[in-house]
């Protein structure tokens, strides 16, 4: 009892005893009653002080009877006197006064105690919250968050179990991510539930307000849909987890008994939920970072692994093995083989038994190439499939169209699905599949990105492996082909050059290093034109390729190349041969046939016409005409002989069987002789002149051949001077060489053609439109003869300004 209380009780005693006692002493005339009256009054005061007003009143009643009986007057019994009345009033006043004071004192004392207890409870709650906050601040996973929250609850002898759920990515469902204290199997029973369901947590997340439920009865009444069944369920609290005013999930506490939730408990829970929400958010961010780190390291590991071998099937097997269970529950890799079939090269599950089952099932239930979803779809379209949460109805649809899938899907328990294509540089090589199943994992966008990154590395590895295999297979043949004289070029189906031999380098002017790996059309200008006419044979049919010869411009030069092409499974082989010379010769031969036949036909027509005319008997021809026709026959026959002689001569020159003598020749005499003969045959308007010094040293040569040279040059001069004029033949010696110059005033020769005229079969006008006949052999023969006599020939001319041919021959020593 405090000092104040003692004072108050003392006062009460003084008032109770002193006041009425004094009054009684004054009022009672009979002193015999004074002592017992004071004693009884003391008893009443004590009773009131101990038990309050009521006990004071009882004590009054109990005190007054003996007092009145024994002390108000001996032997008087219960006679009620004025003194008695005073005593009774005094007793009553004492009881009431003392009792009132005491009761007030007691109420005050109780209130103080209650206040103290409340303060203590608040302090404890605050401490719990603080400890929870500390624990939450260390939480790095949703499990840690739940632990921290529950520990706080358990310390308060409150919650025995808890669960945290977060909103699914699409915001339609709540997905429990951490369970504590509930019975086994409950988490399987509640993998997720809709936000709009009539459940306490759904409501809390929906409204952002906590839901407090005091008992099982209340739960069943408010949420009949929850149907908790036989599980013992008492009070529970569902709290929304709110970050930045947005509900991200919910937290539920379950209690081991029915509870009352006063304002303070409610406030504490809400504060806890707020902290939990922050911690959860932080934990998830942390998890995201940790995931990202683990993805990077996974990718690095995968890359390293892929570079380790050149057997892509082995690579894919390893890849699938490291993917489970870190990335997925199941991982498969399927590739398209060269016939377009689907071939599974890897399948992995953490459990070898499951892996074995997977392979067996794949044998039994192979993928349907035409399936509208899954691996076949991805292989066909090159588009990825990403289903974070595979909808049930999709699975149902799949089973409907492919009933054999039911068994597979049943056992796998497919929940989340990623299937990404393995793309070559423009064809789909295969597909990488990740499956989330029994672990309950739901693939995120980050998982998908990782799968895509993995796929691109895997594609590269497969392509390299295929190339290597191809290269290996071709190795020996390739080494042989390197030294084949024909250009051999192999392109794949995308026209990318995969083989390029030495002859191809020389022929097409593109180095092997530049060509390999490039598209042929980019490496070789004119490639498309080159192969446009090639009719590829198919290696399968066994027919030999037909080659065609086509023109193509390589580094500014026109070449004629024969092209043969053969298709095989993975591309096409081209064999190219330079046929430019053959083609030129062929062209020249064709032209020659045209010109020579014309050249032969003209004199033949004259001979034939003359003979037919001479034989006419329907009219008198006359002697003069007869004589003229006979000379035509003579002359044209000579001309025929000349032409045939030239053809033979050209043939001898070509086959190098011509014999050239070496003797001293008089150029002056030869020139005069040829000019004289030419004048006889020259058309009107043409004069043939010879310019020569009086004396001239002899040159060394074959006289017949030299005459032939002069005849050809003079005849050309006349032939190409249709407008007449002077053809001048001059001979002299200059710089120790004998020199013949034949000059005409004719049509001239374009600069570009001046070299060609000395080539075999060249006529500047193969179309004959100019009508100047010739075998196309004259200047070829001329230049060849001069060369064989050790001399040279050159031409100086311009169109319309005539031509000057200059022959130089060594002087006879």
């Amino acid at each position: 009892m405090t000092a104040g209380a003692w004072r108050r009780h003392g006062l009460a005693a003084l008032i109770a005893v002193g006041g009425p006692g004094l009054i009684t002493l004054l009022a009672l005339s009979d002193t015999d009653q004074l002592i017992p009256g004071l004693l009884y009054m003391l008893a009443v005061a004590s009773a009131a002080a101990a038990g309050g007003i009521w006990s004071g009143l009882v004590a009054t009643a109990c005190s007054f009877v003996p007092f009145d009986y024994f002390f108000t007057g001996p032997g008087e019994g219960f006679g009620f006197t004025n003194d008695d009345l005073v005593a009774l009033l005094v007793f009553l006043a004492t009881a009431i006064g003392v009792g009132w004071i005491i009761e007030r004192e007691k109420r005050a004392r109780d209130a103080a105690a209650r206040a103290r207890r409340r303060a203590e409870a608040s302090a404890r709650a605050a401490a719990r919250l603080r400890r929870a906050a500390e624990a939450l601040s260390r939480a790095v996973s949703p499990d840690d968050v739940l632990d921290a929250v529950l520990t706080s609850g358990v310390e308060a002898a409150e919650a025995r179990a808890g669960m945290i759920a977060v909103l699914s990515e699409d915001g339609t469902d709540l997905v429990p991510i951490a369970w504590r204290g509930f019975r086994e199997g409950l988490s399987e029973q509640w993998p997720r539930f809709p936000v709009d369901a009539p459940y306490p947590m759904s409501e809390a997340v929906r409204t952002g307000e906590p839901v407090f439920i005091r008992s099982r009865a209340e739960l069943d009444e408010r949420y009949p849909a929850l149907a908790m069944g036989p599980d013992p369920t008492y009070a529970n609290v569902s709290l929304p987890l709110i970050v930045d005013d947005v509900a991200v999930g919910g937290l539920v506490f379950s209690f081991g008994s029915d509870q009352e939730f006063d304002q303070e408990r409610r406030a504490t829970k809400i504060a806890l939920a707020r902290q939990a929400a922050q911690a959860l958010q932080r934990a998830r961010m942390y998890e995201a970072v940790r995931d990202a780190e683990s993805r990077v390291s996974f990718l690095a590991e995968a890359s390293e692994l892929l570079s380790r071998s050149l057997d892509y099937q082995e690579q894919m097997r390893h890849l699938a093995e490291i993917a489970v269970p870190r990335l997925a529950d199941w991982c498969t890799v399927d590739v398209l083989n060269e016939h377009g079939g689907i071939e599974r090269v890897a399948l992995a599950h953490r459990d070898p038994e499951q892996t074995k089952w997977g392979w067996e099932t794949h044998q039994r239930v192979p993928l349907r190439p035409d399936s509208p979803f899954g691996v076949p779809f991805v292989l066909r379209t090159g588009e990825a499939e990403f289903l974070p949460e595979v909808p049930k109805r999709l699975l149902d649809t799949a089973v409907e169209s492919e009933p054999e899938l039911a068994e597979v899907l049943d056992r796998v328990g497919l929940r989340s699905w990623i299937c990404v294509p393995l793309k070559g540089h423009d064809r789909v090589l295969g597909a990488l599949t990740l499956v989330g199943a029994e672990s309950g994992r739901v693939f995120t966008r980050a998982d998908f990105d990782l799968a895509a990154a993995l796929a691109s590395r895997a594609s590269l590895a497969i392509e390299n492996a295929l190339l290597y295999r191809e290269a290996e297979r071709r190795g020996d043949a390739g080494r042989a082909l390197t030294y084949v004289g024909d250009a051999v070029v192999l392109v794949d189906r995308d026209e990318v050059v995969r083989y390029w031999n030495r002859a191809a380098e020389l022929l097409l002017g593109v180095a092997m290093d530049d060509a390999l790996g490039s598209r042929a059309a980019e490496a070789v200008p004119g490639w498309r034109a080159l192969i446009a006419h090639a009719l590829p044979a198919d290696a399968e049919t066994g027919k030999l390729a037909q080659s065609v010869t086509v023109p193509v411009v390589v580094s500014g030069t026109e070449l004629w190349l024969s092209v043969a092409a053969v298709d095989f499974g993975e591309g096409r082989v081209y064999a190219l041969r330079d046929r430019t010379e053959e083609h030129a010769l062929e062209q020249a031969r064709t032209d020659f046939v045209a010109t020579a036949s014309h050249e032969l036909r003209t004199p033949l027509a004259a001979v034939f016409g003359s003979v037919r005319t001479l034989r006419r008997d329907d009219a008198e021809i006359g002697d003069a005409n007869r004589e003229m026709l006979l000379s035509i026959i003579e002359r044209e026959t000579e001309r025929l002989t000349d032409i045939v002689g030239q053809i033979l001569l050209a043939d001898q020159l070509g086959s190098d069987t011509l014999h050239v003598r070496t003797e001293a020749c008089d150029l002056r005499l030869l020139a005069q002789e040829v000019a004289r003969a030419a004048r006889v045959r020259a058309p009107e308007g043409i004069a043939v002149e010879v310019e020569a010094p009086e004396t001239l040293p002899p040159v060394r040569g074959d006289e017949d051949k030299l005459r032939q040279v002069l005849v050809n040059l003079v005849e050309n001069a006349i032939k190409y001077s249709p407008d007449g004029g002077n053809v001048v033949v001059s001979v002299d010696v200059s710089n120790g060489n004998g020199r013949i110059v034949v000059r005409d005033p004719g049509i001239g020769i374009a600069h570009a053609d001046q070299q060609r005229i000395f080539e075999k079969f060249t006529r500047l006008d193969p179309g004959l439109s100019r009508g100047v006949g010739g075998s196309g052999l004259g200047l070829y023969i001329t230049s060849e003869l001069i060369a064989r006599m050790g001399g040279t020939i050159s031409v100086d001319s311009a169109p319309g300004s005539g031509s000057t041919f200059t022959v130089e021959l060594p002087v006879e020593a």
Binding site: T602, G609, R616, G771
Partner: protein, 141 residues
């Protein structure tokens, strides 16, 4: 049978060919004029107004098709019928002859004995107003 001295201009750069044709045409009663190349032929046609031109195609400086076109384009000579004599026997060459306005096309080598007859036949059909018929035959041959 002797004709009434129609004048035929013979254009060919081969002297032997001209000689043989001239003898046969004269035996048929034609007066024969000669030119050795295109420009000479054009000048002579303008001056002499022959009844028909026998025209070689392949000649130096100007080919026969060109000569025929030039004759056509000059009103003074455009009515003079042209018959080509040429070694060019392809269908395209015939078409070029047709387009140059010819009424006949004789492919070398031919029998000169019948050249006069051909010229006579052509002149008769022209006299009968069958120029287009001749031209169509030229193409269809």
């Amino acid at each position: 049978m002797r004709a009434g001295g129609e004048r035929v201009l013979l254009v060919d750069d081969e002297p032997a060919m001209r000689a043989v044709c001239r003898v046969n045409l004269e035996l048929e009663g034609f007066d024969v004029l000669e030119a050795t190349e295109g420009r000479e032929a054009l000048a002579m046609a303008l001056r002499e107004r022959p009844d028909l031109v026998l025209l070689d195609v392949m000649m130096p400086t100007m080919d026969g098709f060109d000569v025929a076109r030039r004759l056509q384009s000059n009103p003074a000579t455009s009515r003079i019928p042209v018959v080509f004599m040429t070694a060019l026997a392809a269908r395209d060459d015939r078409r070029r002859g047709f387009e140059a306005g010819a009424v006949g096309y004789v492919v070398k080598p031919f029998d000169p004995v019948y050249l006069g007859e051909t010229v006579r036949h052509t002149l008769d059909r022209l006299a009968a107003g069958d120029r287009e018929g001749l031209r169509q035959e030229l193409l269809e041959r």
